[in-house]
Amino acid sequence: MRIYALAVYLFLYIPIAVIAVFSFNAGRYAAQLQGFSTQWYGKALANPFVMEALQTSVTVALAAATLATLAGTMAALALQGVTGRPRVIFDALLYIAVMVPGIVIGISTLIALVTVFDWLNPLLAALWPAGWSAPQLHLGIGSLIAAHGLFAMALVVIIVRARVAGMDRSLIEASADLGATPWGTFRQVTLPQIFPAILAGFLLSFTFSFDDFIVAFFVAGSETTLPIYVFSSIRRGVTPEINAIGTMVLAVSLLILVVAQSILQRGQRKGGGSAA
């Protein structure tokens, strides 16, 4: 059993380790190691296509994570008041959103967006004042943000809701009892209590959007995110430069995940302090 588990882990992590190792390869071919060098990192960072893709990825990830965090937090708070059958339906939809394969989300978002654009664009053109060119809705940064934000929102709801549910209700009552208005209570008690979860939700949303290839591939239109750039470069052969990019993305993602996890755990310890 132990050997089996070890084999699974090796199978999972060796390719990742190989990428990291080969990113420091001095030679120009990915298949053979020819000494240590960091030149490919320099090359990757100096490549204007890489930097442009990185900029697109960061913009989309920041916007999607912000939107998802705002909407997701509000939804998590509102769900407190929802009970019974509607609650069951809501929960089911949330978990479905997280579990559905990326490819399904990608295709369905693409179809939905294209259908809506086909319907909206003529409408906009007809409604726009004569003499002005009507805006044309098309796939691009906007659709990327929308698709990522929508998916990440489910993540944020699940994370924040767990924290909201774990919060002592009597804290809210104590705050009201001491004369705080509902908004005052939200600002001074609820928000500080659930903030670790909100921050963790934001960071996870960011990494999800930043790393995502499948959904982005469908809805990006002419935009190139970093994962899309990597995918298209691989078709021209795996170079150490790609390995270097992959290693950097991996490092940043792992760092954010570790930070998010530790924020969540510290938040729980602090929250639990009142009961101890």
């Binding site: 104590a174 705050s175 009201a176 009892d177 001491l178 004369g179 705080a180 005052g184 302090g273 009142s274």
Partner: protein, 364 residues
């Protein structure tokens, strides 16, 4: 303060609270006097907490009205009521320091109070609850007893018209609880704030309150001073809940000017004040406090066998058995024992009580 001293600071008028089909509180009528220490006493689920939460503004009565200082407040939300509460598990804000917790109420006031003013008030409050210098601590660095004091300071700093305490001592150990009871009582007298306590602990209610409101199944069973409730319980429920009592079922033989005579099993008779609604020939019970029964070796009274003896220091509690009356408790004082000496389990003696010492009550 607007009200005169004899005007009620708060009133419940026919207050009823339903949760679906469940009636948590039924037709509560009660007026709370300025400056008194009132307790709601009863087992869990008797509606005492619901009554408190209606006063605080966390529950709106389904029927009836709540008045504070003569003003109907049914629709006034909790944050606008001049009432503060000490929560059962204190509900201290874990993300704030002790001082920030205590100053929370003052920081909500509009127009805003000066920071120096709040700081001075917090320092005074910390002194009042005997926690000087603890302001910078975090909540989780405080012990249970200290957390309770912080909760108390946080509630009294706003000088509420009514301070509500929801089983505040439930989480403390026995010794600490006793100290806190004395402290609370002293605090209540010095501050002159009206305290309303909810508890299921009869000793706590008896020792601290000016008046006690005994509740059962959402209704007020009896209300009065601790002494009234102890000496003149309305029924078996109150007699059982307030202090210890022996109950002897029987039939009422005669009633004469408020004094009833009850014949129990084996023809043993009890006389005493007749409770409400007691009629001749009714089934009833005689309630007799353990300390009202004496145990002697001399003649007189009814013969009993000692089954168990518990030494309580000042008193000794005997569990005895009578062939017809069954088992009952006798509380013998040190002085009584000085004359009679100890009874060992298995020994026989005579139990006797004064004529008129019992209470003849309905069996509900």
């Amino acid at each position: 303060m607007t009200g005169k001293d004899d005007s009620p600071v708060a009133e419940l008028r026919g207050a009823t609270k339903r949760f679906g089909a469940i009636v948590a509180a039924r037709d509560l009528n009660l007026s709370i006097r300025q400056g008194e220490f009132l307790s709601f006493l009863g087992p869990s689920g008797c509606g005492k907490t619901t009554a408190l939460r209606m006063l605080a503004g966390f529950e709106t009565p389904t029927e009836g009205d709540i008045f504070l200082d003569g003003q109907r407040v049914n629709d006034m939300p909790a944050h606008r009521r001049p009432v503060n509460m000490v929560f059962q598990h204190y509900a201290l804000f874990p993300h704030l320091t002790v001082a920030e917790n205590i100053g929370y109420g003052l920081r909500q006031q509009r127009p805003r109070l000066a920071a120096s003013e709040i700081e001075a008030a917090v320092t005074r409050a910390l002194d009042t609850v005997r926690l000087p210098g603890f302001g910078a601590r975090r909540i989780w660095e405080m012990s249970g007893g200290q957390q309770q004091r912080v909760a108390l300071a946080r509630a009294i700093i706003n000088e509420p018209k009514l301070l509500l305490l929801d089983e505040p001592m439930a989480a403390l150990d026995k010794k600490l609880r006793h100290d806190m009871q004395i402290e609370l009582q002293t605090l209540q007298r010095t501050l002159g704030i009206t305290f309303v306590l909810v508890t299921h602990d009869q000793e706590e209610a008896l020792s601290m309150s000016d008046r006690i409101c005994i509740m059962r199944d959402g209704e007020i069973v009896q209300m009065g001073s601790p002494r009234d409730l102890y000496d003149r319980p309305r029924n078996r429920y109150v007699a059982d809940f307030v202090g210890k009592s022996n109950f002897f079922p029987g039939r009422v033989e005669s009633i004469d000017g408020g004094t009833a005579r009850l014949v129990a099993e084996g023809g043993v008779t009890f006389t005493g004040v007749a409770g409400e609604g007691i009629k001749t020939a009714d089934k009833a019970i005689a309630s007799l406090r353990p300390e009202q029964i004496g145990l002697t070796r001399g003649a007189g009274g009814v013969p009993v066998t000692v089954i168990n003896r518990i030494f309580l220091g000042e008193h000794t509690e005997y569990l005895v058995r009578h062939p017809d009356l069954g088992q009952f408790l006798i509380l013998a004082s040190r002085q009584a024992e000085a004359g009679e000496g100890n009874f060992e389990p298995g020994e026989t003696g005579n139990a006797h009580w004064r004529d008129g010492a019992a209470l003849i009550l309905g069996n509900d």
